[in-house]
Chain length 146, copies 2
């Protein structure tokens, strides 16, 4: 598997490879998971990092709607299924080692369960950690009990 990505290192720009072979060579960790970074496609804002197994990745590529693996719930997690805040895939790339994904997405509303646009809101500054954003939506509204 590692040989495939080694081969790609010297591959020319715009050269194409069979997608199934690349996905088969991709490296999921001992739990069968791979970190996936979600970036808003137009603003470039990094929204969140979550995990995918092969099934979640296949579904995401097939449907264009981002599906992760929830480690806490132990099941597929179609982003937005309870909050309504979906992620639509614009493009997906593997890194040089084939063990991390970068997803360029179009995120509806907040990506974060706190109601904030991005999950990265705790800045580590010299004078202390600082909260860098407010929720767009009250999380109590985001996850309404039926």
């Amino acid at each position: 598997m590692a040989e495939t990505f080694k081969e790609l290192e010297r591959a020319e720009r715009d050269s194409r490879w069979p997608r199934a072979a690349i996905l088969d060579a991709a490296h999921f960790n001992a739990d069968g998971l791979m970190p996936a970074i979600a970036q808003q496609h137009d603003s470039g804002e990094v929204l969140m990092m979550a995990w995918m197994n092969r099934e979640a990745l296949d579904e995401t590529l097939r449907t264009g709607r981002v599906c992760y693996w929830s480690r806490s719930r132990g099941k597929l997690w179609r982003k937005g299924e309870s909050s309504g805040q979906q992620q639509h895939l614009r493009s997906a790339s593997l890194d040089c080692d084939g063990d991390t994904l970068l997803l360029r997405v179009d995120q509806t509303g907040p990506a974060c369960h706190t109601g904030r646009r991005s999950c990265f809101y705790v800045a580590l500054e010299e004078t202390g950690a600082r909260i860098t954003s407010d929720p767009l939506i009250d999380p109590d509204t985001l996850y309404q009990k039926p």
Copy 2:
């Protein structure tokens, strides 16, 4: 530890918290590591994802030069120590769960060991996987044997 990040969920924008307490509450995995995403601060390009232990994070925050933990070499990895392609820290943020870092950096030259600017160059497209960039520098030049 999880309680600290739970408390931050409702914290107001620009509120400040003791940095040491936040770092102590941050969640490193069973191997003592946390994923760190490096993003070029001005262009927004996501350059790479690597891992940090607490020591690497402390050093990065203290020196402003990004230091990861190399899982393959089992030691601290001061980015650019062999290639010369350093990462200078502009800002660092933890996510809502305190288990992932986003580093906004100023990257000298290529971030990728293949000589490419970004490690994410294997796009998963419908018609196949496609190589999306060429090296800026020949990797044989990047890692010259002494």
